[in-house]
């Protein structure tokens, strides 16, 4: 494409450099301020009382013993819970609310899932509150519950899959599949997963007065500050200026801090009742049931092809779960809409309802489970056709996005496959499974494609230029540990032609210009878009300020550039202070707004190829990963170091998803049993081999105002399929259920 959706931006200088993340030193020296560590004068502590049954009615809550205990200030139950308004949730009104669930803490007379907060105790110390919480006696009238996807009827269609219908048909896929020469028709079963960030979810709520009005300040672990502010406004009928939400750093979230979970609302209730600031930290156990999960999913993928490998039909269908009262729907068939060329396509999802907390976004929610199924099925098709799986993918490379009927903004999947294959020495791979041994280990390699959409959230940023040659960004975005501050400073530095060390940034506070959700790998491009818009607005302002006799005064703002703190126009240049006077004496600021690309002319996604070598000991049931390589095309990489870390992190999560992560239940009791990180396994260092990360560094100005698409989540999306394909190559056996644990592998 000759012209791009967003005008190209030259990003020389700081952008791309492997600059060390700014919060790094504070983190490794233990001085980084995380929410749960905060203190406020007069702070009290709350501990929630979770239900021990999965479904039923609350008959009584006996608080008398707790109330008598030393240090206990109050017990909050439905009898004394302060007034609040029941509002739409995130799933119903993405722009207005980030509330996770319709089930409110300490406010319901019924229980809808085990772990629901039915009451809370506020005390002088955390220990006293914990003690008090144990002393609250709840009597229930138990009702039947269902917590297993195998036991729940999948008799419902989700209302919407991130805006798309639950059934998508192009042509008649069922009969095209029937008539195909070569067919693969396989089922996949994926376990429930929990996010388990190291930082526990926490909220400190403080009701106060401000200019005669009630005001609420919440320090909270969140990926969605600006939306949290709106949510508190609606919950408590407050104006924007009456609510301030602050989160300086997030210590891991993976989607689990995108929505507002009941502990935050509960902290506000508690603080109101005791008229003092209250801190509530969810315990590790309460993260299993308190803060959402990835739903278990059952999928079927059927692919029909000609004997030359041309795909004729793809069917991808299945069931995910949601909770009794909420409507989160996992869009696991989403990536199948545009991955491969096919004559006919059928995508169809159903859902069932379980007595659980609402499921939520987790580590590339739609793509991770969906791509596992699709990319395993593609590998199975390659085996049936006796084709190399890379060649099969190349053969079915589409020209445009089938469902959207739009050209790709920038795809590069074939390049990723080729470049990755070469670095991984794919050519040396014997086609036949069970061909390589190393002692007791069978060795196999596998490949899978990865993808993630380019998502944007409306964001505003204020950029300030100072006459001392420094610049500053203000934006209520979040620092999830990904390096938002570092990379945005680089981005501004490149636009101003100065070194990144001259740029600073404040985020994490709703008193700053509103930012979007730090989820969906959207932050870098959304904040970047706002920063770019702010620079454009500054150019306009500077033209207006220019002395009327200078060439700048009649310049087109677009022709203005910056270098070393100077304003340039053609061969003329001005020091900033030459243009400044009056109220703009020392600095000049402008707010830029980025709305996101609603009606894009292109299909905007990132792509990648992932390669894995595994060793399998089928006598002992062990799978160990020996090598991993990922090659990605995500547009501009803003910082080679933090970028690489994002890809590495994603791929490591993929190892967990493929081989370890599984929430275990006692369905008899309707409760999660492995609610700790000794039993809920995520990869440890010893599980992770040497990893190689590479990328195709080509800015995508069709998808993104700064050429960069998200990189946070794509890293996980192909890993599980690459691992299961490698296990097939090692053993000759297919494993379609995740996680692939020893009892499945052992012969």
């Amino acid at each position: 494409m000759a012209t791009t959706t967003f005008p190209k931006l030259s990003l020389e200088g700081a952008v791309g450099r492997p600059i060390v993340r700014r919060s790094g030193r504070a983190k490794v020296t233990g001085t980084a301020p995380f929410t749960a560590e905060r203190n406020l004068p007069g702070l009290l502590h709350a501990v929630a009382v979770p239900s021990t049954i999965a479904r039923g009615k609350i008959l009584s809550i006996d608080t008398s013993a707790a109330e008598k205990m030393t240090g206990v200030r109050a017990v909050i139950t439905p009898d004394n819970v302060p007034d609040f308004k029941r509002i739409p949730t995130f799933n119903e009104s993405m722009q207005e609310s980030c509330l996770a669930s319709h089930v409110y803490p300490a406010a319901e007379r019924e229980v809808y899932y085990a772990g629901q907060y039915v009451a809370a105790v506020v005390a002088d110390t955390f220990e006293a509150a914990r003690d008090g919480a144990l002393a609250v006696k709840v009597e229930y009238d138990e009702m039947d519950h269902v917590t297993s996807i195998d036991e729940a009827p999948a008799d419902e269609r989700p209302k919407s899959l991130f805006g798309a219908p639950p059934v998508i048909e192009i042509g008649d896929a069922v009969s095209a599949f029937e008539q195909a020469d070569v067919k693969v028709d396989v089922d996949f079963d994926l376990a429930m997963n929990h996010h388990n960030p190291i930082e526990l979810h926490a909220a400190l709520a403080h009701w106060d007065t401000w200019e005669g009005n009630e005001s609420l300040t919440v320090y909270e672990t969140t990926q969605s500050l600006s939306l949290s502010q709106k949510t508190y406004q609606s919950l408590f009928n407050l104006k924007p200026e009456q609510v301030r939400v602050i989160c300086e750093l997030v210590g891991g979230a993976f989607g689990s801090k995108g929505a507002m979970w009941p502990h935050s609302v509960l902290a506000c209730f508690c603080a109101k009742v005791v008229a003092a600031p209250v801190k509530l930290v969810a315990t590790r156990q309460q993260l299993f049931g308190g803060t959402g999960h990835r739903t278990p999913i059952k999928q079927r993928v059927a692919i029909g092809a000609n004997s030359d490998g041309t795909i004729k039909a793809i069917i991808h269908e299945g069931t995910a779960t949601t909770s009794e009262n909420d409507s989160y729907a996992e869009a696991f068939t989403m990536a199948t809409r545009m991955m491969y060329q096919t004559e006919a396509l059928r995508l169809a999802q159903t859902q069932s309802r379980l007595h659980t907390q609402s499921p939520t976004f987790m580590r590339a929610p739609a793509e991770t489970p969906g791509m596992f199924a699709l990319e395993t099925a593609i590998d199975e098709l390659a085996v049936k056709l006796d084709l190399d799986p890379i060649e099969l993918r190349v053969l079915n490379e589409p020209e445009k996005s089938l469902y959207e009927e739009k050209p790709f903004s920038g795809r590069h999947l074939v390049e990723c496959l080729r470049k990755g294959a070469e670095a991984f020495h794919w050519k040396e791979r014997p086609r036949k499974p069970r061909s390589t041994r190393d002692g007791d280990w069978l060795i196999g390699t596998g490949v899978a494609a990865a993808t993630y959409p380019a998502i944007f959230f409306p964001t505003q940023a204020r950029v300030t230029l100072r006459t001392d040659g420094t610049a500053h960004i203000d934006c209520c975005s979040q620092e999830l540990g990904t390096g938002t501050v570092t990379t945005q400073c680089q981005l501004l530095a490149s636009q101003l032609g100065i070194s990144a060390s001259r740029v600073s940034m404040n985020l994490g506070d709703t008193s700053l210009p509103p930012g979007g959700v730090s989820g969906g790998s959207a932050t870098a491009a959304s904040v970047g878009g706002a920063v770019r818009a702010a620079v454009d607005a500054l150019k306009k302002k500077l033209v207006e300020l220019a002395p009327s006799d200078s060439s700048l005064a009649s310049a087109r703002p677009d022709d203005v550039t910056f270098k070393d703190g100077k304003v340039l126009l053609g061969s003329d240049s001005w020091a900033l202070e030459e243009l400044m006077s009056g109220k703009f004496k020392d600095e000049i600021a402008a707010v830029g707004k980025f709305k996101g690309a609603k009606d894009s002319k292109t299909s905007n996604h990132s792509y990648g190829a992932q390669f894995v070598e595994v060793a399998v000991d089928e006598e002992l049931g062990l799978v160990r990963v020996r090598r991993m390589l990922g090659c990605f095309a995500c547009g501009t990489i803003l910082n080679a170091k933090t970028g690489r870390s994002q890809f590495l992190g994603g791929m490591i999560m993929g190892v967990g998803h493929a081989l370890q992560e599984k929430t275990v239940w006692d369905h008899r009791l309707g409760r999660i049993t492995n609610d700790n990180i000794a039993e809920y396994h995520v990869p440890v260092n010893a599980d992770i081999p040497d990893m190689e990360i590479m990328w195709i560094d080509e800015p995508d100005f069709n998808a993104s105002p700064v050429g960069a698409k998200g990189i946070g989540e794509i890293g996980i999306t192909g890993v599980a399929a690459a691992i299961s394909n490698a296990i097939y190559h090692a053993t000759g056996r297919r494993y379609r259920d995740l996680p692939i644990t020893p009892e499945k592998i052992i012969l």
Partner: protein, 353 residues
């Protein structure tokens, strides 16, 4: 957590007289005790710090290795003589827990770690009390969590697996525990110390009387302890409890499969309700030629009495294979080196040192 008194006596005698292991409990490294107190599983009124009154020396005298109970897991694993000569001891420590935990945890506390069974760790989750034989209940068993349910020593019902590693080496190699009370000392063979759960009990019990502390543990140094290994299979490469493990030692006369087994030391971990010394395996091996066939027979015999919970049958196969593989290795090559153990974590073939 429920409030408790904290005592830190200066002399062992004051500590022992203050401890009854129920309302008043010993705190050594705390990695089991504090965890379970936070979960409200153990609720002592008094916690008595014993770390400073227990010795922590490791001594090798007259063919006996004596380890004082206050010695940490890390200290014992890294002790020069242990590193050089007693592979099963070292390996059952370095493949357990994490470096941080091993730096805190003591040998005495280690022997008394509790089952990881969810029904023990959640006092408000009643365990299933049906018997496995109840075949009408096949569906029932899919609905409960059997991941920490013992395969051996379970009387056909759900009881918790003894999760530890080092204790398997302890029972395999005939170690003795030294116990001390306010006015007495006694020793007990480790194999008699652990008792399988009785009806209604969810996990093992021990022969430790109120007032008694473990003060030391001693291993007779035998040729089999020198030609030994600890082989642990776990879901992830590190920081996970065993799905099955074997502590094994062989004293051989002769070479290869024509050699005669003079002495065999065998115990299983991750399977039994207690660290599982296998008399049956020892009997099947001692005095016999070290053939693959005899190894297989020993493995059969060792697991003959297993009553795996539904869905856990694979752990019996796994245990047999762990044993056969360990014995072959000891016969053909000898103990693993650390480097080989790390290589195995990454799916690489151990290259003998």
């Amino acid at each position: 957590m429920i409030p408790f008194e904290f005592a830190s006596p200066k002399r062992l005698q004051d500590a022992t007289s203050a401890i009854d292991h129920k309302s008043s409990m010993a705190l050594a490294g705390g990695t089991t005790l504090l965890d379970l107190m936070k979960l409200n599983v153990l609720t002592p009124d008094t916690v008595v710090s014993v770390a400073s009154v227990l010795g922590n020396s490791v001594r090798l005298e007259d063919d006996t290795l004596t380890i004082e109970a206050g010695c940490t897991m890390a200290q014992l694993a890294d002790h020069e003589r242990v590193r050089e000569s007693f592979p099963a001891i070292r390996q059952s420590l370095i493949t357990a827990a994490s470096p941080q935990i091993r730096n805190m945890a003591t040998i005495g506390g280690n022997l008394l770690q509790r089952t990881r069974s969810t029904y023990f760790r959640h006092p408000d989750m009643p365990p299933p009390d049906e018997s496995f034989d109840d075949s009408n209940h096949e569906k029932f068993w899919h609905r409960v969590d059997l991941s920490s349910a013992a395969v051996l020593g379970n009387s056909g019902r759900v009881v918790g697996t003894y999760p530890g590693d080092f204790a398997n080496t302890v029972v395999a190699f005939d170690a003795t525990l030294h116990l001390e009370g306010p006015d007495h000392q006694r020793t007990i063979h480790a194999r008699e110390f652990y008792q399988i759960p009785q009806r209604q009990e969810l996990q093992y019990s021990v022969d430790l009387k109120p007032g008694e502390l473990i003060t030391a543990i001693s291993f007779p140094v035998t040729p089999a302890l020198k030609n030994s290994l600890y082989f642990k299979v776990r879901e992830r490469s590190s920081y996970a409890f065993a799905l099955a493990s074997v502590a094994a030692g062989l004293e051989l006369e002769g070479q290869g499969s024509t050699a005669t087994i003079r002495q065999a030391k065998i115990a299983f971990g991750g399977l039994g309700s207690i660290p599982w010394f296998s008399q049956a395996a020892v009997q099947a091996l001692e005095g016999k030629p070290a053939t693959d066939d005899n190894f297989e027979k020993a493995a059969e015999a060792a697991l003959a009495e297993a009553t795996p919970p539904p869905g856990n049958e694979y752990r019996v196969r796994l245990a047999r294979r762990c044993l056969v593989r360990s014995l072959r290795r000891l016969r053909d090559v000898g103990p693993y080196s650390d480097t080989e153990i790390w290589a195995m974590q990454h799916g690489r073939t151990p290259t003998p040192a």
